[in-house]
């Protein structure tokens, strides 16, 4: 059964303060597009950097993984998402532009392959001006545990 965008969001294994998906804009078996707004109250802005808040690259990577890999993975697994464990296994990301507090970004992910529980995607993040802020490849294992 195909899941609605809301159902996929509800199945994500993250919550605040580490949920970096607001909305799924479109999703199909080949890819996903979703958005997130980096609220200026997010805790890491207090320290990255001192008196000069910029979204850390690891958070941009995590955002790309949550939208590009986790959301797409849940969609691809269909009904088999009970007890899903997601493990990011590799990233190769280029960071092209900074993302400041209150910016809204869109993540676009295209599936390269989903074989033997491994999902690998070509992912890019764009800012509201439509500029690419970071791009690269992310892969992860989607493990579904049988509860017997």
């Amino acid at each position: 059964m195909v899941k609605s965008h809301q159902e996929i969001l509800a199945l994500l294994p993250y919550t605040k303060p580490f949920l970096f998906v607001d909305e799924i804009i479109e999703i199909d078996e080949n890819g996903v597009k979703g958005s997130f707004t980096f609220h200026e109250d997010l805790d890491f802005y207090k320290g990255h950097f001192k008196d000069f808040p910029v979204t850390p690259g690891v958070i941009l990577t995590e955002t790309m993984a949550q939208i590009g890999l986790a959301c797409l993975g849940i969609f691809l697994l269909g009904d088999e998402v009970e007890n899903l464990t997601i493990a990011m296994t590799s990233t190769n990301i280029e960071f092209l532009k900074p993302v400041y507090p209150a910016e809204k970004v869109v993540v676009i992910s295209e599936k390269k392959y989903f074989r033997f529980n491994k999902l690998k995607c070509e992912v890019r993040m764009e800012n509201e001006a439509g500029e690419i802020v970071c791009k690269g490849e992310i892969a992860g294992m989607l493990i579904v545990k049988n509860n017997g």
Binding site: F116, N117, K118
Partner: protein, 86 residues
């Protein structure tokens, strides 16, 4: 294709995915991908995909689950090649 040639082809495919180059140099039929070469399951998937491309075969889930050491992997590759030829 003889086993020696195939072990060499496998070695070439595996090289980028293992940190344990020493164990790779002394690779034999008994070499276990996870135990001896310290390859994780995510990299094992990429090795299987590279094997598919190199030998122009398709590996199914059941076969993949068996491909944990050199000997078993060669057996699966031979089996798929034979099926292709037939």
């Amino acid at each position: 294709m003889n086993n020696e040639k195939m072990i060499n082809d496998l070695k070439e495919i595996i090289t980028p995915y293992t940190e344990n180059k020493e164990a790779l140099n002394s690779i034999t039929e008994q070499t276990d991908f996870l135990v001896d070469l310290k390859i994780n399951s995510a990299n094992l998937v990429d090795i299987i995909l590279d094997i598919e491309e190199k030998f122009n075969i398709e590996i199914d889930n059941d076969s993949m689950a068996k491909m944990l050491n050199v000997k078993a992997t060669i057996a699966i590759i031979q089996e798929k090649l034979a099926a292709n030829a037939g």
